[in-house]
Symmetry: C2
Subunit: 141 residues, 2 copies
């Protein structure tokens, strides 16, 4: 049975532009993501970007050192997981706070496009990809 | 001629909850605003809130000391003005960066509901209300 893909139009016609293919980060993502930077200013200690994910796309495990990351979900459905915790299903309006030093990943579900605004401080450390089998087993809750 | 009020449903059914009447800040607003805090965490150096404004509602002139404010417009139409500059008309998807020490105000237009996410660092200093006559003269551009 072929999966039904959802939320493509919602992501492509979101509040903020979808931006370009996120080539700068392609080595630390599985799948295709898109990035539109909303705030990138040397006088401001956070960067703000609109990140969009095609279905099945997720970033690698990573850590924000000397900083944090805040996610505001704006379209579609996705996952957020911290190391040692169960993955959390994300929908529009959800907010995620990732604290300094916490290993985590985020991305779309298998069947849905997904967008979040990411507010990020500090220096990221990029780690291994999310295990395909573990990702494949994630189920709607 | 009575004004036609727009964007009420867009604001009331926005991505993020509208929250409660913003009574904590009522002395530094003209009109009725609403606040839903999305991130308020002592370990995070910014606060993130969804602020909604009834038509004609705006905050007083204010300054963020030792910090900044970032606005992401999520619904309706509004105004942003820095001291000594012309007011800037805001629509969905617009982004505003207010730097440390800059005197400014923001709010709805006369005829539209308005919502923005505000990402705020530092300590605000609240000043005088926006002049009624000057606000009344603002025109769509």
């Amino acid at each position: 049975m072929e999966a039904i893909i959802v939320n493509e139009e919602q992501v492509k016609n979101g509040l903020f532009p979808m931006g370009e293919k996120n080539d700068a980060y392609k080595d630390v993502f599985v799948g295709q993501s898109y990035l539109d930077m909303l705030v990138a200013d040397p006088e401001i200690n956070v960067g703000v970007g609109n990140v969009s994910f095609e279905p099945g796309t997720r970033n690698n495990w990573h850590i924000h050192h000397d900083g944090y990351q805040l996610l505001l979900v704006t379209a579609g459905e996705g996952w957020y997981q911290e190391e040692g915790q169960e993955a959390r299903r994300l929908k529009v309006g959800d907010v995620v706070v990732t604290k300094d030093g916490v290993k985590h990943w985020h991305g779309a579900t298998k069947d849905s496009w997904f967008s979040h605004v990411a507010i990020t401080a500090g220096t990221p450390e990029w780690l291994e990809a999310v295990d395909d089998e573990a990702y494949g087993k994630l189920k709607n809750k």
